[in-house]
Amino acid sequence: MDVTAGEFLGFLSLTWQAVVMLLIAGVLMWLGIARKVEPVLLVPIGLGALLANIPLGGISEKGGLLAILRDAGIHTELFPLLIFIGIGAMIDFEPFLQRPYTIFLGAAAQFGIFGTFFVAYLLGDGWLHILDFSLKDAASIGIIGSADGPTSIYVSTILQSKYVAAIVVAAYSYMALVPIIQPPIIKALCSQEERALRMPIVPGATPQRVKILFPIITILVVGLIAPKATPLIGALMFGNLLRECGVVKSLSETAQNELANIVTILLGVTVGGMMSGTEFLRPETILVFVLGVVAFSLDTVAGVLLGKMMSLLSGRKINPMIGACGISAFPMSARVVQKLGLEANPRNHLLMHAAGANTAGQIASVVAGGAMLMLVPLFT
């Protein structure tokens, strides 16, 4: 018989890359379970990575479960769009609708996407050729700055980046690191006096009719100008319309709960299944994670700088810190700003103002994804 033990005994086929990935899988699960860092995502991703790196298991190879899920849900962009329906159904846009000017803070905070794209391209095919980053890879890495898992998956899959798995893990993981990344930047850019600025309460509720029209108008405006963003904005706003129209409560609840949970399970384990040692353990992967921090940092800087300008122009009615919430990391970023506000002034409650900017950032990140998909093919 012409078969060796190493061809059917898994542990005899272990490579050092598989061992490292099994350890990384363990760390991800530990972070999720013991430290409660984004457990809803890190537990399935960690387990998927564990399964994918068992030698001879075949679960991520053609015909295997995770390969089937990848083909059905990631390569077709189905999973991120279904998740967005659930996210749209969960989001209350009222804080944003009461403060529509925060949409510009959301816009500014997407600068991290493009700044990081530029740096990644500079390091790769654009100039230095230190790393294997094509224009499409650089754009996909930049999209980590959207701080939005579904948008990151969607854009990097359509652009067929080589680093989809690393990009997705970075995008989801760094949302949990927002409380570590943002505060030092905000404190460096905003004086004590600025951080202590109280913002006036916005009186009155948004009429329900406005809340119903909002998702429809958003789809029309975004879709007609940046059509590549239509699937993402369409899914997000469909979920929001289910929530706000008030006549399909069961569908809204299903979208927020069962749909979101089922797709999260499948998406998480599938993304983990893409983390095979040979693909993941490259110098470029480490740089993807480093550039992810750069992206979030640039987002924060740009958002706060526009916040400072708006504060000046409004006669100090706007606390510049809320600019940092233009990042789509909801609600972590809003909580960071609320905490910093209270530290500077115990009577300073910025949560609803910050939430307005945060939800505006969700829309802005989708538009940014659409802009990237529109522009990159033009210049490739």
């Binding site: 949409i103 108008i217 405006v221 538009v367 940014a368 990237m372 210049f379």
Partner: protein
């Protein structure tokens, strides 16, 4: 490199343009709906 610069510039312009139009559209809608809502309350 010039390609990348154009993508950055045009990308930010597209984002601000789209969201600026959305801001105007929602401001207009809120203005139209809110007086209607107030009238309904008054009656």
């Amino acid at each position: 490199m010039l390609n990348a610069f154009w993508i950055v510039l045009l990308g930010m312009i597209v984002i601000f343009a789209v969201l600026g139009i959305l801001f105007l559209a929602m401001s207009l809608v809120t203005r139209i709906v809110r007086p209607g809502a107030k009238k309904g309350e008054g009656q």
